[in-house]
């Protein structure tokens, strides 16, 4: 009989990347890179939780994709996808390409000064500390998310990720 509550598979908050909403995108990347070294991870975390400055309220989350959205040069943002692709179809002198690359990088550096709060996304769903594993499956699929913050008495105490949920399901099936 399987009745393990979700809190037995959570990643505690102190072991998960958390950043304030007032951080710039550039600093958020640095902070996430520090986490790699601190926790001996292999790559940048997929998601960071975003809190207010006093870390008392969870405001949203920042995925790698959201950082890229913030860094993306403005000229790529207008028009349709086909228009975006056509911008790259023009043959240019390779020497000119280097100059334009430098301009683009300079532009992206500027954009790295923008704030996390402008690119974070809302928390799609949360799960309670004592909820069942199947509720996590339901919420992850229903909200199309791979991460759910876990609440205990209304406070965030950690996160549950799809990787742990799948590992737990594998264990259930082997038992």
């Amino acid at each position: 009989m399987y009745d393990k509550p979700i809190h037995e598979i959570i990643v505690p908050l102190e072991e998960y990347p958390c950043i304030p909403d007032t951080l710039t995108l550039g600093d958020a990347i640095l902070e996430m890179a520090v986490q790699i070294l601190r926790r001996k991870q292999l790559s940048l975390p997929r998601v960071a939780l975003v809190f207010d400055e006093s870390f008392s309220e969870l405001l949203g989350m920042l995925r790698r994709r959201d950082i890229m959205r913030g860094l993306e040069p403005r000229f790529l943002l207008s028009g349709t996808m086909e228009y975006g692709r056509k911008l790259f179809d023009v043959q240019v002198d390779p020497n000119l390409a280097e100059i334009s690359s430098e301009k683009i990088v300079a532009h992206m550096r500027q954009r790295a000064n923008r704030l996390v709060r402008d690119f974070m996304i809302p928390i799609p769903a949360t799960i309670d500390y004592d909820d069942h594993l199947m509720k996590a499956v339901y919420e992850m699929v229903d909200r199309n998310t791979s991460l759910l913050p876990v609440l205990k008495d209304g406070k965030v105490v950690g996160v549950v990720r799809s990787v742990e949920v799948l590992q737990e399901i594998a264990l259930i099936l082997q038992s």
Partner: protein, 178 residues
């Protein structure tokens, strides 16, 4: 300072687990587990371990299966999207997420044992967008942000040669910025 090309940054196709579409969710999970073990042992910084490439009988890439797609396959039928649509049309009410309680205890095990034998071809995501090996990373950024994707297949000589992921693009971008 020139941006790298997608072909230089992509992870070659052979580094991903590859399964035919008739394999089950159980086999996909086992394959992912095996690759994770392998990656951890080699301490490889490129971890393509959360995607399974799904091929058809002619060995053509049919789609890509993510962990979330496996979870979608394991979701109880009673909570599935089509069940929800049906309920809504009949009674104009939403499926109560607490219905999952029906699956606590032994029922969860029985349900999972059934669902996990479903074929991965039913849950893999078809490939709709591709990059070329000589596209630069800006194009990858543009497509990933516009389409909200974490990975895009890259083709060379009209065949898919690898996959560029949001992690690789972000790491390359970071090198340019810092």
């Amino acid at each position: 300072m020139v941006m790298k090309l997608c072909g230089e940054v992509m992870i070659p196709l052979e580094r991903f687990p590859q399964l035919p579409y008739w394999f089950t969710l159980r086999q996909a999970m086992a394959e992912l587990e095996r690759v994770v073990d392998d990656v951890m042992k080699r301490h490889c910084p490129h971890c393509p371990c959360r995607l399974v490439l799904v091929f058809d009988a002619q060995n053509q890439l049919l789609g890509i299966l993510r962990q979330q797609d496996i979870l979608r396959g394991l979701k109880p039928e009673i909570l599935a999207e089509n069940a929800q649509r049906h309920t809504e049309s009949l009674f104009d009410v939403k499926v109560d997420p607490n219905l999952y309680k029906f699956y606590e205890g032994d029922r969860a095990l029985t349900m999972l044992q059934e669902q996990i034998e479903r074929p991965i071809g039913d849950f893999a995501r078809p490939i709709k967008i591709m990059l070329n090996g000589d596209d630069d990373l800006l194009q990858a950024i543009a497509l990933m942000t516009r389409e909200d994707l974490d990975f895009i297949p890259v083709q060379r000589d009209n065949r898919i040669a690898g996959i560029v992921t949001v992690l690789d693009v972000l790491q390359e971008t970071t090198k340019l910025l810092l």
